[in-house]
Amino acid sequence: MLERIKKLLIESEADAWELTETLTEGWEFYFIRHRLDQNRAKKVRHIRVRVYRTTDGRKTIGSASEEIPPTATDTEAEDMIRQLVKRASYVKNPYYTLNAPSGGPLAPAEGKTPDLSSLAEDYLSAVREIEETEDAYLNSCEIFVRVNHVHFLNSEGIDITDVRPDSTLELVVNAKDASGEIELYRLRDAGVCDKEALKASVAEVMRFGRDRLRAQPMPKLKKADVVFSTAEIREICGFFAGRMSASYKVRGYSDWEIGQPLGEGDVHVSLEALAELPNSSHNALCDAEGARIHDTVMLRDGVPQAFLGNRQFSAGLGLKDSFIPGNYRMSGGAADEEEICAGDYLEAVDFSDFQADPLSGSIGGGGGPPYWHHGGEVTPVTGGSISGNMLTLMRSMKMTKELTRYDNMEVPQRIRLSGMSVTGIA
């Protein structure tokens, strides 16, 4: 099928094209407590085509894309490509070129790709081995394992194949006592099952659950320092990554400049885009447009070094060697845990909704079981929310030296933001 589509593209009126075939085989298991709710399997092939048309003497270029079903006939596929070429001619963006081969051939890492059965077995046994108690137990879980075969080609001669496993685990954990029952939710993406990390995560969430059962109403603090120690830190990392993206810069959403210190030198965060992170579900040889991914410093000690993004936005900024990042490392902290956790603070953990908007800087959320650390006492609290703006909060942001990993992001274990707004009820 792929060769057929490639031939049709070459014979079409497209000035350039990209072609991506992804064959995914997946197994899924759904559990209520430890009983099987449903099992599912899939084998699906997706063929995505993007065609480009240049106009105005190569001053402008436009693209249009479509998925061509593997069941499409030659006539149907040819017609779809003809329609795409027509659509692309109506789209006029400043001219840019597609990625071209560079730096020698790319090949998948050596080693056997796990089969679905062994990938699934690891998760099934890990879930079975979760240590449950009378007062904290698994309510339900969903296991997804996939093997993805990706083949990317473009009209400039890039031809890359890659095979990667990836997986998702959704866990709902309940805790109960005489006063009632609560639940906590976690969704974990990874390359393959990391049993030890999974067990540690479940033990942590069960501890949060037990603590939340004895939670007191959140005090009306108005303002407080907040220490983040769970996956909310991903959102903070995403705020910096968003403002260092080429698309934000081109659109005028980010006023950060290369070489100009953030927050008048008060910000000391570093951010890198990484080709690989151990067991990340985002590891890949190239990005979705065939650009080679390589380790790149985006922020160094609070000073922008490189915007990154897709070919179109990167061309708008005149960037060389740019790509769409998949993995990030956020670092730059100098504090140890004792320093981060000094004095009074609210410890935000497992918020059900927490967002950091890279455009406005707004940050906020709630719904989790935070801990109020006050005068040496630690009290689990509930019923409140926190909010603030990263553009000001980042100036007093403290981070631990030690890093931890959430799938495709390596981030400080703890981050402290000073003076966030806190809505309480008591």
């Binding site: 399997a41 406005s360 409140g384 809505t423």
Partner: protein
Amino acid sequence: MKAPFSPYLNEIRDPLKKLIDILSGTYAYVSVLSTDSRGFAIRVSQHVRTVEGRTMTTERGTVVRVYRDGLYSEYAFNELDPERISEKAEEIRTALDAQLKLLAQTGTAVYETPPLPDEPLTLLSEMETGSLPEDADFDALIADLAGVSDAACAAGPDVIECQVAAQSTHICKMFFTKQRDLRQSYVYSEAVLAAVAVKDGRSEMAHEGVSGRIGPELFFELSGKVAETVQAAEEMLTAERVEPGEYDIITSPEVTGLIAHEAFGHGVEMDMFVKGRALGADYIGRRVGSDLVTMHEGALCAENVTSYAFDDEGTPAGDVTEIDRGILKTGICDAISAARLGVQPTGNGKRENFEHKVYTRMTNTLFDSGTSSLEEMIASVSHGFLLKGMQSGMEDPKHWGIQCMIERGYEIRDGKLTGRVMAPILMTGYVPDLLGSVSMVSADRQVFGNGGCGKGHKEWVKVADGGPVLKAKARLG
């Protein structure tokens, strides 16, 4: 015109019926859902334009559901040779048997479920639309949407960018069992403009949208939203942060819809009852809101982006009264959960696409109208906020916590708008307290179908929600 049913799906009808016949030799129940939904998305801004042949709901593929020994299993695929149906049946059996072998090795017990009823039903529904996405004039549409972006940038002194996103999808689905033969075809469209204003190092975005079960002709309504969107973006540039606390609130219809969705939308999805994850199961027949609160849910409640004829399990669309004058009456239910709970399914079994599992999901979730006016509500508030623009929300069915991120709030003091704007606003509360505090409801009502809804943090589907203007009390921060 009527949205014509997919010729491709008609071509594979008989082969798929043969597949059911073959698999019925092994399994006690077999159903097939096949989809062929095509559409497009156009994005236009001052800096970039794109045309994609993909929306949230475009797909072509098939999922087979089988039942044996109390267990439901599914296999999804998108390669089908009508001449080799026996091989496809064998592929399905082999894959599912391999899973069962592994499950047997790990000593996994099954959550035993009764077989689904299979009552005879035949349907071909080709719904009305003004036009089809496959016939769209892209040159004209791109020009019109670019005009919307240009108009927004010209309308506000601080507006630096306006992204316009418009998409239209022609949904075609067919569902078979031994007894059922259902086909449906409809078109829905939606468009959003998002104006970005920047001043003195501050950036804010405001957005407005349109949606409906019609074709791309809907996009031309977007120009009527430019002035309101630009004004909101400009206002947000000087917005303050709200002093955390409890206030009287007046919710515009889109915020009302967000509350409907998060409060007793997710809270009465009955697959959560099966897992013991929803407090609502214990509150059927009990008071959960004031007398002014009546809420409906169902694909038949409105004509919007998810107003289908039957759901992804072949259950006809419904209209469920979830809350009647403050009393929780019932929830919504997919077919398997209904079999487990001993109730009737409500036509709310939905998949993200053919590759995904069915869950109980919302369609149109709406508060009923009342008799008050917005002016009366504002006049009745001593200190509070008129809330406009929804950003996101999160439910907590187990504890009835609700959390809504709202774009902006307009201060009201002594019965009058003061001109002060707060943004953004995080509204939190306990669902029965929030609904119990509803003291005024407006006579009009609107429905909004932009965006999507996840189950947990995945499984994204189209939903619509809305209602009238409400007056209530909530915590804001």
